[in-house]
Protein backbone atom coordinates (compact mmCIF):
# COMPACT_ATOMS: atom_id res chain seq x y z
CA UNK A 1 0.00 0.00 0.00
CA UNK A 2 1.13 3.49 -0.72
CA UNK A 3 2.31 5.57 2.23
CA UNK A 4 -0.62 7.24 3.96
CA UNK A 5 -1.13 10.97 3.91
CA UNK A 6 -0.64 11.31 7.64
CA UNK A 7 2.72 9.52 7.51
CA UNK A 8 3.69 11.64 4.54
CA UNK A 9 2.92 14.84 6.42
CA UNK A 10 4.97 13.62 9.36
CA UNK A 11 7.92 12.79 7.10
CA UNK A 12 7.85 16.32 5.69
CA UNK A 13 7.52 17.84 9.16
CA UNK A 14 10.54 15.84 10.34
CA UNK A 15 12.60 16.94 7.33
CA UNK A 16 11.80 20.57 8.16
CA UNK A 17 13.60 19.91 11.43
CA UNK A 18 16.44 18.14 9.65
CA UNK A 19 15.35 14.71 10.87
CA UNK A 20 14.37 11.40 9.30
CA UNK A 21 12.47 8.44 10.75
CA UNK A 22 15.55 6.25 10.76
CA UNK A 23 17.75 8.88 12.36
CA UNK A 24 19.76 9.66 9.27
CA UNK A 25 20.77 13.12 8.14
CA UNK A 26 19.18 14.45 4.96
CA UNK A 27 22.40 13.94 3.03
CA UNK A 28 23.18 10.51 4.42
CA UNK A 29 22.92 7.21 2.55
CA UNK A 30 21.88 4.05 4.33
CA UNK A 31 24.64 1.47 4.78
CA UNK A 32 25.83 0.41 1.34
CA UNK A 33 26.94 -3.19 1.11
CA UNK A 34 28.19 -4.85 -2.03
CA UNK A 35 28.67 -8.62 -2.15
CA UNK A 36 30.08 -10.34 -5.18
CA UNK A 37 29.38 -13.72 -6.72
CA UNK A 38 25.61 -14.12 -6.76
CA UNK A 39 25.77 -16.56 -9.67
CA UNK A 40 28.87 -18.47 -10.68
CA UNK A 41 27.43 -18.75 -14.19
CA UNK A 42 27.66 -15.01 -14.71
CA UNK A 43 30.77 -13.24 -15.96
CA UNK A 44 30.30 -11.03 -12.94
CA UNK A 45 27.51 -10.58 -10.44
CA UNK A 46 26.85 -8.56 -7.32
CA UNK A 47 24.27 -8.02 -4.65
CA UNK A 48 23.84 -4.43 -3.55
CA UNK A 49 22.02 -3.39 -0.41
CA UNK A 50 21.05 0.11 0.55
CA UNK A 51 19.57 -0.55 3.95
CA UNK A 52 16.64 -2.86 3.22
CA UNK A 53 16.68 -2.16 -0.51
CA UNK A 54 18.35 -4.95 -2.39
CA UNK A 55 19.13 -5.60 -6.04
CA UNK A 56 21.23 -8.15 -7.86
CA UNK A 57 23.10 -7.28 -11.02
CA UNK A 58 24.73 -9.73 -13.37
CA UNK A 59 26.94 -9.44 -16.42
CA UNK A 60 26.82 -11.86 -19.32
CA UNK A 61 28.77 -11.45 -22.52
CA UNK A 62 28.42 -12.74 -26.03
CA UNK A 63 29.94 -12.18 -29.42
CA UNK A 64 27.87 -10.47 -32.08
CA UNK A 65 28.08 -8.08 -34.97
CA UNK A 66 28.81 -4.41 -34.35
CA UNK A 67 26.40 -1.63 -35.23
CA UNK A 68 27.17 -0.11 -38.64
CA UNK A 69 27.90 3.30 -37.11
CA UNK A 70 30.46 1.87 -34.65
CA UNK A 71 32.19 -1.00 -36.49
CA UNK A 72 35.15 -1.06 -34.08
CA UNK A 73 33.23 -0.89 -30.84
CA UNK A 74 31.59 -3.46 -28.61
CA UNK A 75 27.96 -3.20 -27.61
CA UNK A 76 26.15 -2.93 -24.33
CA UNK A 77 22.60 -3.65 -23.28
CA UNK A 78 21.04 -2.91 -19.93
CA UNK A 79 17.70 -4.25 -18.82
CA UNK A 80 15.99 -4.04 -15.48
CA UNK A 81 13.21 -6.16 -14.08
CA UNK A 82 11.13 -5.25 -11.09
CA UNK A 83 10.39 -8.68 -9.74
CA UNK A 84 7.03 -9.31 -8.09
CA UNK A 85 8.95 -11.18 -5.40
CA UNK A 86 10.55 -7.91 -4.33
CA UNK A 87 7.40 -5.94 -3.57
CA UNK A 88 3.64 -6.34 -3.58
CA UNK A 89 3.57 -3.31 -5.83
CA UNK A 90 5.11 -5.17 -8.75
CA UNK A 91 3.18 -7.54 -10.97
CA UNK A 92 4.13 -10.01 -13.67
CA UNK A 93 3.78 -8.96 -17.27
CA UNK A 94 5.60 -6.90 -19.84
CA UNK A 95 7.85 -4.19 -18.37
CA UNK A 96 6.03 -1.02 -17.44
CA UNK A 97 7.49 2.44 -17.31
CA UNK A 98 9.37 2.17 -13.97
CA UNK A 99 11.31 -0.89 -15.15
CA UNK A 100 12.00 0.64 -18.55
CA UNK A 101 13.22 3.86 -16.96
CA UNK A 102 15.43 2.00 -14.48
CA UNK A 103 17.08 0.12 -17.36
CA UNK A 104 17.48 3.17 -19.54
CA UNK A 105 18.86 5.41 -16.81
CA UNK A 106 21.39 2.74 -15.83
CA UNK A 107 22.27 2.30 -19.50
CA UNK A 108 22.93 6.00 -20.07
CA UNK A 109 24.82 6.32 -16.79
CA UNK A 110 27.31 3.66 -17.95
CA UNK A 111 27.32 4.50 -21.66
CA UNK A 112 27.70 8.28 -21.51
CA UNK A 113 30.58 8.08 -19.06
CA UNK A 114 32.54 5.81 -21.42
CA UNK A 115 33.30 3.71 -18.34
CA UNK A 116 33.62 0.65 -20.57
CA UNK A 117 36.39 0.87 -23.15
CA UNK A 118 34.24 -0.29 -26.04
CA UNK A 119 37.02 -0.15 -28.59
CA UNK A 120 38.88 -2.86 -26.70
CA UNK A 121 35.80 -5.09 -27.03
CA UNK A 122 36.27 -5.30 -30.78
CA UNK A 123 37.41 -8.71 -32.02
CA UNK A 124 37.33 -8.08 -35.77
CA UNK A 125 36.37 -4.68 -37.06
CA UNK A 126 33.01 -4.61 -38.78
CA UNK A 127 32.40 -8.26 -38.07
CA UNK A 128 32.80 -9.41 -34.53
CA UNK A 129 32.58 -7.56 -31.24
CA UNK A 130 31.70 -8.39 -27.66
CA UNK A 131 28.32 -7.38 -26.32
CA UNK A 132 28.07 -6.73 -22.59
CA UNK A 133 24.67 -7.52 -21.12
CA UNK A 134 23.97 -5.88 -17.77
CA UNK A 135 20.80 -7.15 -16.12
CA UNK A 136 19.32 -5.70 -12.96
CA UNK A 137 16.76 -7.47 -10.77
CA UNK A 138 15.08 -6.04 -7.71
CA UNK A 139 15.08 -8.38 -4.72
CA UNK A 140 13.63 -6.11 -2.08
CA UNK A 141 12.21 -2.67 -2.81
CA UNK A 142 12.56 -0.17 0.00
CA UNK A 143 13.25 2.94 -2.04
CA UNK A 144 16.02 4.27 -4.28
CA UNK A 145 16.29 1.36 -6.68
CA UNK A 146 17.79 3.88 -9.12
CA UNK A 147 21.04 4.30 -7.21
CA UNK A 148 21.13 0.65 -6.16
CA UNK A 149 20.97 -0.40 -9.82
CA UNK A 150 23.67 2.07 -10.86
CA UNK A 151 25.99 1.03 -8.04
CA UNK A 152 25.36 -2.64 -8.89
CA UNK A 153 26.14 -2.12 -12.56
CA UNK A 154 29.46 -0.43 -11.82
CA UNK A 155 30.46 -3.03 -9.22
CA UNK A 156 29.56 -5.94 -11.49
CA UNK A 157 31.57 -4.44 -14.35
CA UNK A 158 34.56 -3.99 -12.04
CA UNK A 159 34.73 -7.66 -11.10
CA UNK A 160 33.52 -9.39 -14.28
CA UNK A 161 35.89 -11.75 -16.09
CA UNK A 162 35.76 -12.18 -19.84
CA UNK A 163 34.77 -15.66 -21.00
CA UNK A 164 37.12 -17.52 -23.31
CA UNK A 165 36.57 -17.16 -27.04
CA UNK A 166 37.55 -19.88 -29.48
CA UNK A 167 38.55 -17.98 -32.61
CA UNK A 168 38.73 -21.10 -34.79
CA UNK A 169 35.33 -22.45 -33.89
CA UNK A 170 33.97 -18.93 -33.50
CA UNK A 171 32.39 -19.94 -30.25
CA UNK A 172 32.28 -18.44 -26.80
CA UNK A 173 33.38 -20.99 -24.23
CA UNK A 174 31.00 -20.05 -21.49
CA UNK A 175 32.01 -21.10 -18.02
CA UNK A 176 35.69 -20.94 -18.96
CA UNK A 177 36.60 -17.58 -17.59
CA UNK A 178 39.84 -15.88 -18.49
CA UNK A 179 41.73 -13.79 -15.97
CA UNK A 180 41.00 -10.70 -18.01
CA UNK A 181 38.63 -8.09 -16.70
CA UNK A 182 36.26 -6.19 -18.93
CA UNK A 183 38.32 -3.25 -20.25
CA UNK A 184 37.34 -0.22 -18.17
CA UNK A 185 38.55 3.33 -18.29
CA UNK A 186 40.35 4.70 -15.24
CA UNK A 187 38.38 6.24 -12.41
CA UNK A 188 35.02 5.50 -10.90
CA UNK A 189 31.63 6.69 -12.01
CA UNK A 190 29.02 7.41 -9.39
CA UNK A 191 25.23 7.45 -9.55
CA UNK A 192 23.35 9.73 -7.18
CA UNK A 193 19.68 10.59 -7.21
CA UNK A 194 18.50 13.64 -5.33
CA UNK A 195 14.87 13.52 -4.21
CA UNK A 196 12.69 16.54 -3.55
CA UNK A 197 10.40 16.12 -0.56
CA UNK A 198 8.38 19.22 0.22
CA UNK A 199 10.93 22.02 0.31
CA UNK A 200 13.82 19.76 1.24
CA UNK A 201 16.16 17.67 -0.83
CA UNK A 202 17.40 14.31 0.41
CA UNK A 203 19.37 11.31 -0.78
CA UNK A 204 18.66 7.59 -0.66
CA UNK A 205 15.02 7.68 0.41
CA UNK A 206 13.24 4.74 1.99
CA UNK A 207 10.09 3.65 0.19
CA UNK A 208 7.96 5.86 2.46
CA UNK A 209 10.12 8.87 1.72
CA UNK A 210 10.16 8.09 -1.99
CA UNK A 211 6.34 7.94 -1.97
CA UNK A 212 6.17 11.46 -0.56
CA UNK A 213 8.77 12.82 -2.95
CA UNK A 214 7.41 15.08 -5.67
CA UNK A 215 10.39 14.84 -7.97
CA UNK A 216 13.95 13.73 -8.36
CA UNK A 217 17.05 14.31 -10.40
CA UNK A 218 19.26 11.34 -11.23
CA UNK A 219 22.86 12.33 -11.87
CA UNK A 220 25.69 10.21 -13.22
CA UNK A 221 29.12 11.73 -12.64
CA UNK A 222 32.79 10.90 -12.37
CA UNK A 223 34.85 11.13 -9.20
CA UNK A 224 36.27 14.41 -10.42
CA UNK A 225 32.79 15.86 -10.80
CA UNK A 226 32.20 15.68 -14.55
CA UNK A 227 28.49 15.12 -15.20
CA UNK A 228 27.71 12.51 -17.86
CA UNK A 229 24.01 11.88 -17.51
CA UNK A 230 21.07 13.46 -15.86
CA UNK A 231 17.31 13.11 -15.81
CA UNK A 232 14.62 14.88 -13.88
CA UNK A 233 11.63 12.81 -12.88
CA UNK A 234 8.33 13.64 -11.24
CA UNK A 235 6.04 16.64 -11.26
CA UNK A 236 7.71 19.13 -8.88
CA UNK A 237 9.15 22.08 -10.75
CA UNK A 238 12.62 23.46 -10.11
CA UNK A 239 14.05 26.94 -10.24
CA UNK A 240 17.60 27.23 -11.61
CA UNK A 241 18.77 28.02 -8.03
CA UNK A 242 17.14 24.84 -6.71
CA UNK A 243 18.81 22.93 -9.53
CA UNK A 244 22.17 24.27 -8.41
CA UNK A 245 21.48 23.11 -4.85
CA UNK A 246 20.73 19.65 -6.19
CA UNK A 247 24.04 19.52 -8.06
CA UNK A 248 25.87 20.70 -4.94
CA UNK A 249 24.22 18.03 -2.80
CA UNK A 250 25.03 15.37 -5.39
CA UNK A 251 28.67 16.43 -5.37
CA UNK A 252 28.72 16.34 -1.58
CA UNK A 253 27.32 12.83 -1.20
CA UNK A 254 29.26 11.14 -4.02
CA UNK A 255 32.02 10.18 -1.57
CA UNK A 256 29.61 7.95 0.38
CA UNK A 257 28.94 5.92 -2.75
CA UNK A 258 32.47 5.90 -4.13
CA UNK A 259 33.95 4.67 -0.86
CA UNK A 260 31.62 1.65 -1.00
CA UNK A 261 32.51 1.04 -4.66
CA UNK A 262 36.20 1.48 -3.91
CA UNK A 263 36.13 -1.59 -1.67
CA UNK A 264 34.83 -3.89 -4.41
CA UNK A 265 37.32 -6.56 -5.41
Amino acid sequence: MKTTKITGERIKQYLEEGKRFDGRKLDEFRDITIETGVSNQAEGSVRVKLGKTEVIVGIKMNVGTPYPDSPNKGNMMVTAELLPLSSKRFEYGPPRFPAIELGRLTDRFIRESNFIDFEKLCIKEGEKVWTVFIDVYSINHDGNLLDAAGIGAVAALMIAKMPEYDEKEEKVLFGKFTKTNIPLKKGLIIPTTIYMVGKNIIVDPTLEEEDVSGGRVTIGATESGVINSMQKGGLDTLSPEEMENILDLSEKVRKQVSSALGKVK
Binding site: F97, I100, E101, G103, R104, R108, E112, S113, V217, G225, V226, I227, N228, S229, M230, Q231, K232, G233, G234, L235, D236, T237, L238, S239, P240, M243, E244, L247, E251
Partner: protein
Protein backbone atom coordinates in the same frame (compact mmCIF):
# COMPACT_ATOMS: atom_id res chain seq x y z
CA UNK B 1 39.21 25.36 -29.23
CA UNK B 2 35.84 26.79 -28.41
CA UNK B 3 36.26 29.89 -30.53
CA UNK B 4 36.98 27.80 -33.61
CA UNK B 5 33.77 25.84 -33.68
CA UNK B 6 31.44 27.00 -36.41
CA UNK B 7 27.94 25.58 -36.64
CA UNK B 8 27.45 23.61 -39.81
CA UNK B 9 24.23 25.48 -40.57
CA UNK B 10 25.84 28.88 -40.01
CA UNK B 11 23.80 29.76 -36.92
CA UNK B 12 25.12 31.80 -34.02
CA UNK B 13 25.67 29.84 -30.82
CA UNK B 14 22.58 31.28 -29.16
CA UNK B 15 20.45 31.22 -32.27
CA UNK B 16 17.58 28.76 -32.57
CA UNK B 17 16.57 27.28 -35.86
CA UNK B 18 13.58 28.91 -37.49
CA UNK B 19 10.53 28.03 -35.47
CA UNK B 20 7.05 27.58 -36.84
CA UNK B 21 3.93 27.00 -34.84
CA UNK B 22 0.36 26.53 -35.90
CA UNK B 23 -2.68 25.76 -33.85
CA UNK B 24 -5.59 23.65 -35.12
CA UNK B 25 -4.00 21.14 -37.48
CA UNK B 26 -6.19 18.12 -36.73
CA UNK B 27 -9.85 18.86 -37.18
CA UNK B 28 -11.17 15.87 -35.22
CA UNK B 29 -9.17 16.62 -32.10
CA UNK B 30 -10.36 18.77 -29.19
CA UNK B 31 -7.12 20.69 -29.56
CA UNK B 32 -4.13 20.35 -31.85
CA UNK B 33 -0.95 22.07 -32.95
CA UNK B 34 2.17 21.80 -35.04
CA UNK B 35 5.57 22.98 -33.86
CA UNK B 36 8.85 22.87 -35.76
CA UNK B 37 12.51 23.66 -35.15
CA UNK B 38 13.95 23.81 -38.66
CA UNK B 39 13.58 20.34 -40.14
CA UNK B 40 12.16 18.81 -36.96
CA UNK B 41 8.38 18.79 -37.19
CA UNK B 42 5.99 17.61 -34.49
CA UNK B 43 2.23 17.55 -34.44
CA UNK B 44 0.15 17.01 -31.33
CA UNK B 45 -3.54 16.33 -30.79
CA UNK B 46 -5.51 16.43 -27.55
CA UNK B 47 -8.59 14.30 -26.92
CA UNK B 48 -10.46 14.94 -23.72
CA UNK B 49 -10.97 15.49 -20.90
CA UNK B 50 -13.08 12.35 -21.08
CA UNK B 51 -14.08 9.61 -18.66
CA UNK B 52 -11.18 7.30 -17.88
CA UNK B 53 -11.72 3.73 -18.97
CA UNK B 54 -11.17 1.14 -17.58
CA UNK B 55 -12.84 2.42 -14.46
CA UNK B 56 -10.23 1.07 -12.06
CA UNK B 57 -7.71 3.49 -13.55
CA UNK B 58 -9.85 6.45 -12.53
CA UNK B 59 -8.29 8.75 -9.96
CA UNK B 60 -10.86 10.53 -7.79
CA UNK B 61 -8.30 13.08 -6.61
CA UNK B 62 -7.18 14.46 -9.94
CA UNK B 63 -7.38 13.91 -13.65
CA UNK B 64 -4.82 11.90 -15.56
CA UNK B 65 -2.61 13.26 -18.29
CA UNK B 66 -1.64 10.57 -20.74
CA UNK B 67 0.97 11.41 -23.37
CA UNK B 68 2.04 9.29 -26.25
CA UNK B 69 5.19 10.24 -28.18
CA UNK B 70 5.58 8.50 -31.48
CA UNK B 71 8.00 8.84 -34.39
CA UNK B 72 6.56 7.93 -37.73
CA UNK B 73 8.58 5.26 -39.49
CA UNK B 74 9.75 7.51 -42.32
CA UNK B 75 10.69 10.50 -40.17
CA UNK B 76 14.34 9.41 -40.05
CA UNK B 77 17.00 8.18 -42.45
CA UNK B 78 16.86 4.54 -41.37
CA UNK B 79 13.21 3.54 -41.19
CA UNK B 80 12.18 2.84 -37.62
CA UNK B 81 9.84 0.04 -36.72
CA UNK B 82 6.40 1.47 -36.08
CA UNK B 83 4.97 1.10 -32.59
CA UNK B 84 6.22 1.81 -29.09
CA UNK B 85 9.84 1.30 -28.04
CA UNK B 86 11.68 1.69 -24.76
CA UNK B 87 12.85 5.08 -25.95
CA UNK B 88 9.39 6.32 -26.91
CA UNK B 89 7.89 5.00 -23.67
CA UNK B 90 10.40 7.02 -21.70
CA UNK B 91 9.92 10.18 -23.74
CA UNK B 92 6.15 9.85 -23.35
CA UNK B 93 6.49 9.80 -19.57
CA UNK B 94 8.99 12.64 -19.49
CA UNK B 95 6.58 14.64 -21.65
CA UNK B 96 3.81 14.05 -19.10
CA UNK B 97 6.12 15.30 -16.35
CA UNK B 98 7.01 18.32 -18.46
CA UNK B 99 3.39 19.32 -19.09
CA UNK B 100 1.37 18.31 -16.06
CA UNK B 101 2.75 20.90 -13.62
CA UNK B 102 1.05 23.70 -15.59
CA UNK B 103 -2.29 21.94 -16.03
CA UNK B 104 -5.19 22.50 -13.63
CA UNK B 105 -5.59 18.77 -13.63
CA UNK B 106 -7.26 18.69 -10.21
CA UNK B 107 -10.39 20.05 -11.90
CA UNK B 108 -10.91 16.77 -13.72
CA UNK B 109 -11.23 13.87 -11.26
CA UNK B 110 -11.83 10.47 -12.84
CA UNK B 111 -11.08 11.93 -16.27
CA UNK B 112 -8.23 11.49 -18.68
CA UNK B 113 -6.66 13.90 -21.12
CA UNK B 114 -4.95 12.15 -23.99
CA UNK B 115 -2.14 13.90 -25.82
CA UNK B 116 -0.88 12.18 -28.94
CA UNK B 117 2.37 13.45 -30.39
CA UNK B 118 3.74 12.39 -33.74
CA UNK B 119 7.13 13.36 -35.07
CA UNK B 120 6.65 13.47 -38.81
CA UNK B 121 10.11 14.73 -39.73
CA UNK B 122 13.06 14.36 -37.39
CA UNK B 123 16.29 16.30 -37.20
CA UNK B 124 17.21 16.35 -33.48
CA UNK B 125 15.34 17.92 -30.56
CA UNK B 126 12.22 15.93 -31.40
CA UNK B 127 11.07 15.59 -27.80
CA UNK B 128 11.34 19.35 -27.36
CA UNK B 129 9.31 20.04 -30.49
CA UNK B 130 6.78 17.47 -29.30
CA UNK B 131 6.42 19.11 -25.90
CA UNK B 132 6.01 22.55 -27.48
CA UNK B 133 3.33 21.26 -29.83
CA UNK B 134 1.59 19.45 -26.98
CA UNK B 135 1.52 22.57 -24.79
CA UNK B 136 -0.11 24.48 -27.65
CA UNK B 137 -2.59 21.69 -28.33
CA UNK B 138 -3.63 21.61 -24.65
CA UNK B 139 -4.18 25.37 -24.68
CA UNK B 140 -6.08 25.07 -27.93
CA UNK B 141 -8.30 22.40 -26.38
CA UNK B 142 -9.25 24.98 -23.77
CA UNK B 143 -7.86 23.02 -20.85
CA UNK B 144 -7.25 25.39 -17.94
CA UNK B 145 -3.53 26.00 -17.61
CA UNK B 146 -1.46 28.13 -15.27
CA UNK B 147 0.99 28.82 -18.04
CA UNK B 148 2.54 27.39 -21.16
CA UNK B 149 5.70 25.33 -21.15
CA UNK B 150 8.49 25.86 -23.66
CA UNK B 151 11.11 23.30 -24.48
CA UNK B 152 14.45 23.40 -26.23
CA UNK B 153 17.79 21.68 -26.13
CA UNK B 154 21.15 23.15 -25.28
CA UNK B 155 24.24 21.37 -26.49
CA UNK B 156 27.91 21.42 -25.66
CA UNK B 157 29.77 20.76 -28.88
CA UNK B 158 33.34 20.06 -27.90
CA UNK B 159 33.73 23.01 -25.50
CA UNK B 160 31.21 25.36 -27.05
CA UNK B 161 27.67 25.76 -25.73
CA UNK B 162 25.02 26.06 -28.41
CA UNK B 163 21.27 26.42 -28.39
CA UNK B 164 18.84 24.11 -30.24
CA UNK B 165 21.17 21.34 -31.39
CA UNK B 166 20.64 20.09 -34.92
CA UNK B 167 21.12 16.63 -36.34
CA UNK B 168 24.82 17.05 -37.08
CA UNK B 169 25.54 18.30 -33.58
CA UNK B 170 23.35 15.65 -31.99
CA UNK B 171 24.45 12.53 -33.79
CA UNK B 172 27.43 13.14 -36.07
CA UNK B 173 29.83 15.45 -34.23
CA UNK B 174 32.51 13.46 -32.42
CA UNK B 175 35.61 15.55 -31.83
CA UNK B 176 37.33 16.86 -28.74
CA UNK B 177 34.97 16.51 -25.80
CA UNK B 178 32.22 15.25 -28.11
CA UNK B 179 28.63 16.37 -27.96
CA UNK B 180 26.50 16.83 -24.87
CA UNK B 181 22.76 17.16 -25.33
CA UNK B 182 20.62 18.79 -22.64
CA UNK B 183 16.91 19.08 -23.36
CA UNK B 184 15.13 21.49 -21.00
CA UNK B 185 11.52 22.51 -20.52
CA UNK B 186 10.61 25.71 -18.68
CA UNK B 187 7.29 27.12 -17.55
CA UNK B 188 6.49 30.65 -18.73
CA UNK B 189 7.77 31.92 -15.36
CA UNK B 190 11.12 30.17 -15.59
CA UNK B 191 10.68 26.97 -13.58
CA UNK B 192 12.16 23.73 -14.89
CA UNK B 193 9.65 20.94 -15.49
CA UNK B 194 11.88 18.70 -17.55
CA UNK B 195 15.60 18.13 -17.85
CA UNK B 196 17.74 15.40 -19.32
CA UNK B 197 21.43 15.20 -20.08
CA UNK B 198 23.72 12.92 -22.01
CA UNK B 199 27.41 13.56 -22.49
CA UNK B 200 30.14 15.20 -20.50
CA UNK B 201 29.98 18.55 -18.73
CA UNK B 202 31.26 20.29 -15.61
CA UNK B 203 28.90 21.76 -13.07
CA UNK B 204 29.92 25.31 -13.94
CA UNK B 205 29.30 24.86 -17.60
CA UNK B 206 25.99 23.18 -16.88
CA UNK B 207 24.91 26.28 -14.94
CA UNK B 208 25.83 28.35 -17.98
CA UNK B 209 23.86 25.99 -20.21
CA UNK B 210 20.85 26.35 -17.93
CA UNK B 211 20.91 30.13 -18.31
CA UNK B 212 21.19 29.85 -22.07
CA UNK B 213 18.24 27.48 -22.08
CA UNK B 214 16.19 29.84 -19.96
CA UNK B 215 16.81 32.67 -22.43
CA UNK B 216 16.10 30.40 -25.40
CA UNK B 217 12.85 29.21 -23.84
CA UNK B 218 11.62 32.81 -23.86
CA UNK B 219 11.98 32.86 -27.64
CA UNK B 220 10.06 29.61 -27.95
CA UNK B 221 7.39 31.04 -25.66
CA UNK B 222 6.91 34.06 -27.91
CA UNK B 223 6.41 31.85 -30.97
CA UNK B 224 3.88 29.74 -29.09
CA UNK B 225 1.97 32.79 -27.83
CA UNK B 226 1.82 34.25 -31.31
CA UNK B 227 0.43 31.00 -32.73
CA UNK B 228 -2.29 30.90 -30.10
CA UNK B 229 -3.27 34.50 -30.78
CA UNK B 230 -3.38 33.87 -34.51
CA UNK B 231 -5.75 30.97 -33.96
CA UNK B 232 -8.29 33.41 -32.57
CA UNK B 233 -8.40 35.56 -35.67
Amino acid sequence: MAKDYKRDDGRKFDELREMKAKVGVVDNADGSAMFSFGDTVAIAAVYGPKKMHPQHQQNPEKGTLRCNYNMVSFSVEDRIRPGPSRRSTEISKVTEWALEPVLMIKDYPNMVIDVHISIIQASASTRCAGINAAALALAHAGIPMKNLVSSLSVGKIDKQLVVDVNKFEDSVFDEGEGATDIPFTFTGDGKITHLQLDGKISKDQFMEAMNLAKEGAKKVYEVQKKALKESLN
